[in-house]
Subunit: 260 residues, 2 copies
């Protein structure tokens, strides 16, 4: 059994978001990843209709539950651990270099502690004043263009928190072909390919080796071997039928017309 | 030394996106993560101003370079490996259970092969018809509410691809068959299988779907597609030869002996 972060102890905090659409998109992203506590501090515009349009109906409950504050310090008061997000690396504060590293830390921390993850405004990010309230900073690694859309940043963080140490359910595996089924398949395949002169009859093993390598690239399933054997049998049947058709036509075309 | 995916060989394909804003947001997310090739197929609305507003100035070059197509098959023709994104698990097709697993696979695959990652429309995702072109599907794991915003889904995939690294030396990867080579192979295969009556001519797609699933289990190499197409041609040749043999024998066996 594996454990992940304790989602109900983690809150997303948007500090001075400018656009209601980003609040709504953040709520939807949270909902996708199983997070439900959203705190909004001093928003530039509060327009619930625009928020809800991007949140979609599914994240309606997250929007209903939004906690609003005027100042960041009040919003963060009850939290035992506060993480700030930043596009900048370096400076005086230690920055966790990826959301994955953060997620690993939060698995233990969030078990018994309310944790806040704070995102700054779209244009300026978190100010030095805001950073004072953060125990820790995390950076989302980018390539070239560092400025993520606010709700995209929320998604990346929530995704990484949600997927940290997930236990994999065993994949469904259909029955694989037994060795004897494979051997018969290769016999029938060789016969069919010799008949259609795709492989040379004097040294079929040489010619078959490429096909064997191809099929060996994946463990063939019993059903797939059945398909291939069925096709081989149909090739032989087809040859016999065409022979009969030609034979009948040959008898009736005694006038010397060219064979079709 | 660590290796990652080869970004310049990876394209993001949006199939029938409804909203220009999502195209723009996807472009920005790509740009954040260092991906630059964006393909848009049959968009609901093409409004470059709305696209650019969400892309921001930084992703302007990605928007400039957008390749537009009317149909998905044309868009995918040059790609050696096509990955579809789906919110659904289960069903008959194998679905990679996370973007991380996909990313690990693409580290080798993207080195020498153009790879397309296809996202369906906001309301319906990828249809069964669209899925026919995909070698593989990937699911973004969610908790509860499975429907991700389109550009959020693009971000999660791009983020996972961008951050995947591996220290192993890369395995050798032969050239994979391009989508157009695969399409021709399926055409020739259908013709041959109809001829030998392995599939019913009135509904070949139904019968071919099992074979497509089989071949989709592994990325077919160009040389392997050549083998299969060669066999198909030989089957047709064989039918004609057998017909001629029967025809000649039919003329010479006037004494009523049974056809061999």
């Amino acid at each position: 059994m594996t454990v992940g972060v304790t989602r109900e102890n983690i809150a997303i905090v948007l500090q001075r978001p400018r656009y209601p659409e980003n609040i709504g998109s953040a709520a939807r992203a949270m909902c996708n990843m199983g997070f439900h506590r959203l705190i909004v501090v001093d928003p530039g515009i509060w327009d619930e209709e625009r928020i809800r349009r991007l949140a979609t109906h599914a994240a309606g409950a997250v929007v209903d539950g939004i906690e609003r504050f005027d100042v960041l310090s009040d919003a963060l008061a009850p939290f035992g651990h506060v993480v700030g997000t930043t596009a900048r690396l370096g400076g005086q504060r230690p920055v966790l270099k990826s959301p994955e590293v953060l997620a690993e830390k939060l698995i233990d921390l969030s078990r018994n502690n309310p944790v806040a993850i704070v995102f700054g405004s779209e244009d300026r990010g978190l100010t030095n004043e805001d950073l004072k309230y953060c125990h820790q900073l995390v950076n989302i690694p980018t390539t070239g263009f560092t400025s993520l859309n606010l709700s995209q940043a929320v998604m990346v963080i929530c995704y990484c928190l949600a997927t940290a140490t997930r236990s994999d359910p065993p994949a469904f595996t259909p029955r694989l072909a037994k060795r004897i089924e494979l051997d018969r398949m290769y016999e029938e395949l060789t016969e069919a390919l010799v008949r259609i002169e795709y492989v040379q009859p004097d040294n079929p093993d040489y010619w078959m080796s490429r096909l064997r390598r191809f099929f060996a690239r994946l463990p063939l399933r019993a059903g797939e071997v059945g398909i291939i054997r069925g096709i081989c049998r149909q090739i032989l049947w087809y040859g016999n039928r065409r022979y009969e058709e030609g034979s009948v036509d040959g008898k009736t075309m005694e006038d010397g017309r060219p064979l079709r």
